[in-house]
């Protein structure tokens, strides 16, 4: 395929994509460069290539997911892989046994790549020790969601040319967010300045040690920012009360025009989805085609996942 340019290959240290923390700058660059080539492919009339023909990709989802799962599924199919999706959300089997036992069972079927999402932090790491194929983390507990951060970076690069030198604010439920953690690592690595903005009860302990400035005043946190990343309130992960009400949250931490006015004039709005309109983001802002790149994130997500599948599938050949 002429549309896929040959890139100078970077040697990846890891056999698996478990987190941004394990990647080097050159590995990240390689993934993003690969992804750029797939953006074009995804816009063309014939979207399917045979790069991974004969390969088997298993999507193993222990947590409900719409966009990430469909994005990975589409990515695999466009590369020509055989894709099987397994949802083990409501499995009656005892949780712990499921992961190892399922891993062993799947391994016996000789997959080339397993994409896993699990509610427990570290589950993909454990899985990667038990199988012979590549494991890609599609989100584990509150630890990492590397492909989301990579697609966010690609979106920023697509719009702004580069991440380096930008000021990025990540706002909302930082405590429960794997997206926040992966983005903190990645944006720092790519040379951005990162602010996190959250009510104090939703700021993780010692978050500054990850190389960010923490703000509980959203206006101050958004000052001169180039990118505003909003996060969803993860009510399903909350034990007990962290906030008085959605109303109070929206008042102080919802993205509204007056708060956004503190950021740079051309600041972009991002959101990993799914969005709660009127809780963390003003509905008009979410749909503002001049500011919001939320739909573009979804689009580029497929390209980034294609790049990851290609690189890590090849890596394990």
């Amino acid at each position: 395929m002429a549309i896929i340019k040959k890139l100078k290959a970077v040697k990846f240290k890891q056999n698996h994509l478990l987190g941004i923390q394990d990647l080097s700058f050159s590995e990240v660059s390689q993934i993003l460069e690969e992804a750029k080539t797939f953006i074009k492919l995804n816009k063309s009339s014939s979207k399917k290539i045979d790069l991974l023909r004969g390969k088997t990709q298993i999507n193993l989802f222990f947590e409900p997911s719409t966009r990430t799962q469909s994005s990975f599924e589409l990515a695999g199919k466009r590369l020509g892989a055989d894709v099987m999706s397994m949802n083990i959300v409501n499995s009656a089997i005892k949780k712990g046994e499921t992961l190892i036992d399922t891993a062993m069972t799947l391994n016996a079927m000789h997959p080339d790549i397993i994409v896993v999402r699990h509610q427990d932090s570290g589950a993909p790491n454990l899985l990667s020790q038990k199988v012979n194929c590549a494991v890609i983390n599609a989100g584990d507990g509150r630890r990492e969601h590397p492909t989301q951060a990579l697609l966010d970076a690609l979106t920023i690069i697509n719009r702004r040319g580069k991440v380096e030198g930008l000021k990025i604010a990540i706002c909302g439920d930082i405590l429960h967010s794997r997206v926040a953690r992966s983005n903190i690592y990645l944006m720092n690595m790519l040379g951005a300045e990162v602010n996190v903005v959250a009510p104090i009860t939703l700021l993780p302990h010692s978050i500054e040690r990850l190389g960010v400035k923490a703000f509980t005043d959203m206006k101050r946190g958004l000052e001169n920012c180039d990118i505003v990343m909003m996060l969803r309130l993860q009510n399903e992960r909350m034990q007990g009360s962290f906030l008085p009400s959605p109303r109070e949250y929206y008042e102080y931490f919802g993205l509204t025009p007056d708060k956004l006015a503190m950021a740079n004039k051309d600041a972009l709005i991002m959101h990993p989805g799914p969005m709660n309109r009127g809780v963390e983001i003003d509905t008009n802002l979410a749909d503002d085609i001049n500011r919001s790149v939320i739909r573009e994130q979804v689009e580029l997500g497929v390209a980034v996942r294609m790049a990851c599948l290609k690189i890590f599938c090849k890596k394990n050949q």
């Binding site: 992961l99 427990d120 570290g122 010692s206």
Partner: protein
């Protein structure tokens, strides 16, 4: 049994403040007849067989106040025979067994069972603890008086904390009448709910919910307040943080009478050791920061903390090969308690006498048992230790049925050469 003469050893006896080159005589009944420098080659009768210790340390057998057995109910994790072998290879001659078995040790008939099994299957001295509440449910207190009469040395819900303050006040009040020893595992359930490791940078990075150290401190503060109203024999099983250490130090300086312990794990490891989700280091209380660890060492040095325990909690591999949140809590440690403690001596953290006292005389005194010293007339429960011998921990070399050691491949310095119970050699590494 013939009298035994051990000579030319470094005799260590914290109770009697002895640290001198000398010997020890075991009489025909297996009791200590004499110990110290007065026992030497020159004043022993000629012609008797003497065992030359070659300046190796001879000390009282270790008294480990916090050990999980597995019998009844979890025999696949550890039984009395495997526990005994593990203990003796680490110089431990007496243990307090935790009541968290299935069924729970909460009534008199269970005590009989435990004593019988312990006697038949093990060679170490088992001092059983009974639960504070029926089935460790934290609702109805157990029969302290009757259980104590049966030989229960202490009461604790083991891995659980008495959460209900009213119940705790009544337990302390009632226990005072039978002079029962109450041992609390201090952790507020609601504050620690869902928590897996220490709350801090590591928990943030690993995305694991944290257990704040205040969950421990708040229970200790509550119980110490009760102690002013209801005076009883009160012991905090194991503390893990600098904050709690300060609370205890202050209370002791104000004249409050109680004791506290710490697990060797919290003295020798910190949260950074968890690395990439090592479930063998999932412990309760959790490993905390290096700052906390140093405060605990200081606590041993200044007398804030009285006892070092192994917190030996055998878990089979299947219970540990899970995601961190699903994995079982606890580490095996009885056979490495002494060698790992000696690391604290070798790196000049704790003086040798203080270190040994925290594992012999101090626990025995708290439990009110005649162990952990070299007094004349006591059972000759001893161990001989080469405190300099280097070796590497290898799980396959361990005697415990479960291999969940938190210090696999650690290079240690100091190994037990021989262990004696009632004057008999029950473990021997000397050819």
């Amino acid at each position: 049994m013939k009298e035994k003469y051990l000579v030319n050893g470094r005799i260590l006896d914290p109770k009697n403040k002895i640290d001198e080159i000398g010997g020890l005589i075991i009489d025909s009944k297996g009791l200590i007849k004499a110990a110290g420098k007065k026992v030497s080659n020159s004043n022993l009768p000629a012609g008797v067989e003497k065992f030359d210790l070659n300046k190796k340390v001879l000390m009282p057998g270790i008294v480990d106040m916090r050990v999980f057995v597995g019998e009844p109910g979890y025999e696949y994790k550890e039984n009395f025979r495997t526990l005994s072998n593990a203990a003796l290879s680490g110089g431990v001659t007496s243990v307090v067994s935790m009541p968290n078995t299935n069924p729970v040790i909460d009534n008199v008939s269970m005590v009989d069972f435990l004593k019988r099994r312990g006697r038949d299957k093990s060679r170490i001295n088992i001092f059983p603890a009974a639960s504070l509440t029926k089935n460790t449910d934290g609702k109805q207190m157990t029969e302290f008086g009757l259980l104590k009469r049966k030989g229960i040395v202490a009461f604790t819900d083991g891995i659980k904390t008495i959460q209900d303050p009213r119940l705790m006040s009544r337990i302390m009040s009632f226990a005072s009448q039978s002079k029962s020893l109450i041992m609390q595992h201090a952790e507020d359930n609601i504050l620690s709910n869902g928590g897996l490791i220490n709350e801090g940078e590591i928990s943030t990075r690993l995305g694991l919910q944290g257990i704040p150290s205040i969950a421990e401190k708040i229970i200790v503060e509550r119980d110490l307040s009760f102690l002013e109203e209801y005076f009883c024999r009160y012991h905090i099983s194991q503390i893990s943080s600098k904050k709690t250490t300060s609370v205890i130090k202050k209370a002791k300086s104000e004249g409050k009478v109680f004791t506290s312990g710490v697990s060797i794990n919290n003295l020798s490891l910190n949260e950074n050791d968890i690395g990439d989700f090592k479930t063998f280091l999932k412990l309760s209380p959790p490993l905390r920061t290096e700052d906390d660890r140093l405060a605990l060492i200081e606590g041993i040095n200044d007398g804030t903390i009285d006892v070092i325990v192994s917190d030996h909690k055998p878990e089979d591999e299947e219970s540990k090969r899970l995601t961190f949140s699903q994995a079982a809590t606890g580490a095996s440690g009885i056979e490495t308690l002494l060698p790992l403690s000696l690391e604290l001596f070798h790196n000049n953290s704790i003086d040798l006498m203080k270190l040994i006292a925290a594992m012999t005389y101090n626990p025995a005194k708290i439990l009110n048992i005649s162990k952990g010293n070299l007094d004349k007339g006591n059972d000759a429960d001893l161990c001989i230790v080469d405190i300099n011998k280097p070796w590497v921990v290898n799980k396959d070399g361990l005697n415990s049925k479960s291999k969940n050691t938190p210090i696999e491949n650690r290079k240690l310095q100091g190994q037990v050469l021989q262990t004696y119970i009632k004057g008999e050699i029950v473990f021997n590494r000397i050819d």
